[in-house]
């Protein structure tokens, strides 16, 4: 199953938001994260994977264990609600520019 990984998708899911809240407190192993949920470890691991692909979570090797910690910079990017507004206008203006570059006066 191929999904476009974007931060909106990541935060749209309540389980993933709960995972973000957990690792915001401290870096955790996948097992410790899964221990907080009733869902199967496999399900939680899928959520962790999606959050990692969106760069919301980052891995750190601690001895034999992998710890996940929150990428605060990425979270800040989401918190910056102006960004989608800017992107909307940027897309419009990019379109305007490409249309007018090919404009043939009648």
């Amino acid at each position: 199953m191929e999904l476009r990984r974007d931060v909106f998708q990541a935060i749209a899911d309540p389980t993933r938001r709960a995972i973000i809240a957990l690792v915001a407190m401290q870096a955790m192993t996948p097992g410790a994260i899964a221990g907080n949920f009733d869902s199967s470890r496999q399900t939680i691991s899928k959520h962790i994977q999606i959050l990692s692909e969106c760069e919301l979570l980052q891995q750190k090797q601690k001895g034999r264990e992998i710890h996940y910690h929150l990428n605060a910079l990425k979270l800040k990017e989401i918190a910056d609600f102006v960004e989608p507004f800017r992107k909307l206008w940027d897309d419009r203006f990019n379109k305007l520019e490409s249309i007018m570059k090919n404009y043939q006066p009648k």
């Binding site: 999904l3 749209a12 800017r86 305007l96």
Partner: protein, 154 residues
């Protein structure tokens, strides 16, 4: 890809600035605002009315990805080719009320130009709500995508 559009938002102010430099001579940039057929293309809207003159009015109807129709309208206060457009903008069926827009077109050289949009809202709260609209849409669309995926799985 480099983002050429800048949005300047100051905390606690009921206005915002959008600016953008175009690889277009100024008359082509202005034409994109003047010709209804071109406006329709880049704004992704249907132009019902566009009277490019002082005391003129305009009306657009946009269909969103979910198929809902949204109306927009306003009055034109100034229309000076290759220089400026001053107009009001109001979303129909929303409680935001009209906003005032000052569009300034500047020539940089014979191949490039700059547009600055100065938008003034009734209050800081309304400005912030309008800024959040595309953010909300992003979240809603993500929700819809997830729902579609879940439907396919069941």
């Amino acid at each position: 890809m480099e983002m050429k559009t800048k949005v300047h938002v100051e905390e606690g102010k009921q206005e915002l600035l959008i600016s953008r430099e175009f690889d277009l001579p100024i008359h082509l940039l202005f034409k994109a605002y003047e010709e209804p057929e071109i406006v329709e293309q880049w704004m992704g809207t249907k132009v019902i009315k566009l009277e490019n003159k002082k005391h003129g009015s305009w009306q657009f109807i946009t269909t969103d990805p979910m198929g809902n129709k949204h109306g927009f309208h306003g009055t034109i206060h100034a229309f000076i080719p290759d220089e400026k457009i001053t107009r009001t903008f109001e979303m129909e069926n929303a409680d935001f009320g009209p906003q005032l827009e000052f569009l300034e077109f500047e020539e940089i050289d014979d191949k490039t130009s700059k547009l600055t949009m100065h938008v003034i809202f009734r209050s800081v709260e309304i400005r912030d709500e309008i800024l959040k609209l595309p953010f909300r849409q992003g979240i809603n669309m993500a929700h819809n995508r997830l729902q579609e995926i879940v439907k396919k799985l069941t």
